[in-house]
Symmetry: C2
Subunit: 391 residues, 2 copies
């Protein structure tokens, strides 16, 4: 199997381990920073490496429009295109397309939509979403699903879930028939036939991408159970929980995640999509989720909203104009070790590019450090004394 989870410690429902991918191992539970267009806005790849990022998320919809899948494929796939040799996950484009409320039309075959950039017409189907994601070449790709809107009544939630299940099957069929078209599989095979790879060196030639299924079902626990069961019946190497954080109360999100997790295989990766605050990612990791992604740390950073051990901080406030202390005195990121709140406030208030860069680096560090703490907590739970640190 191209991607699998190696569980090394458990504590209650939580698990810590490694996600093994064709582009390296990823310590789990993991938070995946979002690099929409093949770049985490403002942060260069070497800084991401230094931060300890082991897997990035990129967006199929955005990359499909710019630079287009053919360019990325010709450049050797997304890893080579963006010079990132660690793991990548792409979403299916479904969520973005469904967000184009006034610009899309859903049918059995797929979704017709217009680009948010220039209004040009496009069509995404399960097969097309697979074709694009194979061309982009992420290690983990996602089934093309319908993200059920909120609120949705019972018939609508069921119909949407059934559509996602039919699409999941079509995704799997297309993927199984075409998965060795991934750019780096070709590259490895070419290198091998040209004698340019060492026989004893690890090669990716026998590996390819992994396609994860997505559980939908709206806010109905029973539908979620059915969606989980029937998605598992189709069979994927990992499962995501989609369709949450779409406007529902946070309590409801927690309930649905908790009840859905019970129906997912315990030996396979579980990915909760689009979540959340630092408290939420810690909570879900402790509940047995292995992977999460969210634009919150990066987007909030660009708006001057910073996560610290003392809570959220809005760096634009005048109260920080002459504050010589570090952004977060308890933080060891390169921003907190070097710059004062006064300087960061000045950069933000003056609309300096560096504000966005430094704020993003700090927030990412904060998210990654949060997950490191949770991983330590899970692993400590297996200590002989049974006493772990307080979270």
């Amino acid at each position: 199997m191209s991607v699998h989870l190696q569980i090394e410690a458990t504590r209650g429902p939580a698990r810590a381990g490694k996600l093994i991918t064709p582009h390296g191992e990823v310590e789990t539970p993991v938070f995946m920073p979002v690099g929409t267009l093949g770049s985490v806005k403002g942060v260069s790849q070497d800084v991401l490496e230094e931060l300890g990022v082991e897997i990035l998320l990129a967006n199929t919809y955005h990359l499909f429009l710019r630079p287009g899948v053919e360019t990325v494929r010709k450049m050797g796939g997304l890893h080579r295109f963006m010079s990132w040799d660690r793991a990548i996950l792409t979403d299916s484009g479904g969520f973005q397309v469904f967000s184009l409320t006034d610009l899309r039309k859903v049918g059995e075959e797929g979704v017709a939509f217009r680009s948010h950039l220039d209004g040009s017409p496009h069509f995404l189907s399960p097969e097309k979403a697979m074709e694009i994601q194979i061309g982009l070449g992420a290690d983990i790709i996602m089934a093309f699903d319908e993200c059920t809107e909120y609120p949705a009544d019972a018939p609508r939630a069921r119909a949407s879930m059934e559509l996602t299940l039919r699409w999941a099957e079509r995704c799997k069929n297309y993927f199984e028939a075409n998965k060795y078209e991934v750019p780096w599989a070709t590259e490895s095979a070419e290198l091998r036939s040209a004698g340019r790879t060492n026989a004893s060196a690890p090669t990716r030639a026998d590996q390819t991408q992994a396609l994860f299924g997505i559980v939908q079902g709206g806010m109905d626990r029973e539908l979620r159970r059915e969606s989980a069961d029937r998605t598992i019946d189709i069979g994927f190497p990992g499962y995501a929980i989609g369709g949450l954080s779409v406007g529902e109360a946070r309590e409801l999100t927690r309930d649905i995640v908790a009840s859905t997790l019970e129906h997912l295989p315990s030996d396979q990766p579980r990915y909760l999509m689009g979540v959340g605050t630092p408290e939420e990612i810690a909570h879900y990791a402790q509940s047995g989720v292995d992977m999460m992604d969210c634009v919150l740390p990066t987007r909030a950073a660009r708006h001057g909203l910073l996560f610290t051990s003392e809570g959220k901080l809005s760096i634009k406030q005048a109260r920080y104009a002459q504050d010589e202390s570090a952004l977060d005195p308890a933080c060891e990121c390169r921003v907190c070790l070097r710059y004062s709140r006064a300087y960061l406030r000045h950069l933000y208030a003056s609309n300096e590019l560096l504000a966005q860069v430094l704020n993003t680096v700090h927030n990412l560090h904060y998210y990654l450090a949060t997950m490191r703490t949770v991983r330590g907590w899970i692993r400590a739970g297996r200590s002989p004394t049974g006493a772990g640190p307080r979270m």
Copy 2:
């Protein structure tokens, strides 16, 4: 003397050596990147250090408006505020104020102007420009001069030059009376009295800033000679050539620089303000200029214009969309070593923040490498064989 030039090699009129400042030594001839508001747009200080930047230029006018000199002074001066322990030079604000054509009024006392940000009224005089620059605390500060407009007739050029000379004297008087008010001189004295500095450790307490004079005189060689002579009579530890690159032909700039250089002391630093292209900075360094600054590498970078060993390159062009080669195959900067033109073109075309960051890093590297080459050429000129490398 707080700042002086240690000449270690000469080749014709050119000289290579070190500018000794309270915040470290600077290899000369040197190109100084512009950090208008206390930040080189998009580039963090650790990357500037890695690039080998030894001295930065910051703009008095901009810092006076945001965050204001009192904030910078309270934060310990510009070095501490921006966490940059290497050398800094501030301009006097004169050039920016004169650029506010419709918003300023020049008199004998100084210049009344309105902020480009909010229209608020301000006044800069020689004394005020000194007070601000002492509060900012750069290693090298500049006299408040009138940048003569181009074209200017003979009476106007003379009147402007005479005003600059009267202001130069006022700047020197104010500076000499107040130069130990620099924030880090105070800081050193406080640390010393608190017993927190090692007696054997180098301290900056006996050092302070250096004030450089500026030669004006429009495009008239004779006026330039007179301006140089009379500015030298006032007496400064370094001299700048101002009032160029204001719209005149490049040939004329070269003539005026060449003739002005002849009248400047050979043992003191010579600073040509606001110049220029890579070819120009190489030419002027070979002509005996020790210091230069220009927004060109950083501003052009943000517009996708990149300097390479093969000439200028506009990364926005579609021809680079699938170009896998490095931006400049001969360049060893972190951008050229890692990313392809295709990726950089995608980032620029998609308006990604990282485009501005990476483009700026490359252009700065190119400018700094250009000066390294010139320094090598000057030093090689003293080799026993007398044969230096071709430029």
